[in-house]
């Protein structure tokens, strides 16, 4: 089984933190709570209403931190598949606000890997989201237990080409 070695860095494609992406998350809050098969809209928040954000001492809307967390989780799932969900751990700390239109790259770096006799690999990873200048805005770490071959999964094409 192929494993990723310590020092290996996984980088997601950069994404712009648009107003729309912020609102998609905001509307999930009442939608998940209502859970009635319909999409609900939230009251004005610091994530989708400039005036309300300014009234709270912010220069403008900021992204909900869970967007960064989910983009990091998404990167882990791209690499490790459903093994990234459980068992394991994920911690993220939001060290700087993510303002509208900032380009975010989610990054995971392998810090340790241990292979059990049954072939299960236990990964420890350092995580962060950085802006276009490389400034870290979110930092964290994760542990993932992986039963399959990570490298093959990470390199698997997202589409097939046939002539």
């Amino acid at each position: 089984m192929t494993t990723l070695q310590p020092g290996t860095e996984l980088r997601a494609h950069p994404r712009r933190m648009t107003r729309e992406r912020m609102r998609w998350y905001v509307d999930l809050l009442p939608t998940v709570e209502a859970d009635d098969g319909r999409v609900h809209q939230d009251v004005p928040t610091i994530h989708d209403d400039d005036e309300f954000a300014r009234s709270q001492g912010l220069p403008g809307i900021i992204a909900d931190g869970m967007l960064s967390t989910n983009w990091l989780l998404s990167l882990l799932m791209d690499a490790f598949g459903e093994d990234a969900l459980a068992p394991g751990s994920l911690r993220t700390r939001y060290i700087a606000p993510v303002f509208e239109d900032v380009v975010i790259t989610a990054v995971a770096r392998v810090t340790a890997v241990q292979t059990d006799p049954d072939g299960t690999a236990r990964y420890a990873l350092e995580l962060w989201c950085e802006d276009a200048e490389g400034k870290k805005l979110t930092v964290g770490d994760a542990s993932v237990r992986v039963t399959g071959s990570v490298a093959e999964r990470a390199r698997a094409p997202r589409f097939l080409v046939s002539a």
Binding site: D35, I46, E82
Partner: protein, 148 residues
């Protein structure tokens, strides 16, 4: 004991819930779509797996249960997500969430609240996710709030 009114009233030792619920296939897919997690085990199956990050929104369910007056006049800002996932969760699985305010403390003029959420299988009490959530309950420092 500071439950029963605003979430901004919550104090160390307060208990939230328990609440029992299921996460429907609809909300799991909608949540993953809203976060652009288009992975097949979320979107292309009749029995989607639940992303562990959805535990964060169960805090709102606990807030609604224990603090029915809502958030209070100021916006919360999320500081840290810290989850340990014991087992994969599936949509439509009966769940039970309990919250406990682990800490309320002041730092650089702002009030922080840390809540621990214990998410378990409702049928046999198996632990599924242990989550610690840290927020600033008012981004605007108290002094600025008083002068505005």
């Amino acid at each position: 004991m500071a439950t029963g009114r605003y979430t901004s009233d919550l104090d160390t030792g307060d208990m939230l819930g328990p609440v029992e619920f299921k996460l429907s296939t609809f909300v799991v897919r909608e949540y993953c779509h809203g976060n652009e997690m288009h992975h097949p085990w979320f979107q292309d199956t009749d029995r989607p797996m639940v992303p562990p990050t959805l535990v964060h929104l169960q805090k709102l369910r606990l807030y609604t249960h224990s603090c029915p007056a809502g958030t209070g006049p100021t916006a919360r800002v999320h500081v840290e997500y810290d989850a340990t996932c014991h087992e994969t969760i599936f949509a439509e699985q009966p769940l039970r969430a309990t919250g406990r305010v682990a800490q309320r403390y002041e730092k650089r003029g702002r009030t922080y609240v840390q809540i621990e959420i214990d998410l378990r299988a409702a049928e046999d009490d198996r632990p599924l996710i242990t989550y610690r959530d840290t927020v600033i309950i008012s981004y605007k420092p108290a002094a600025a709030e008083a002068s505005s």
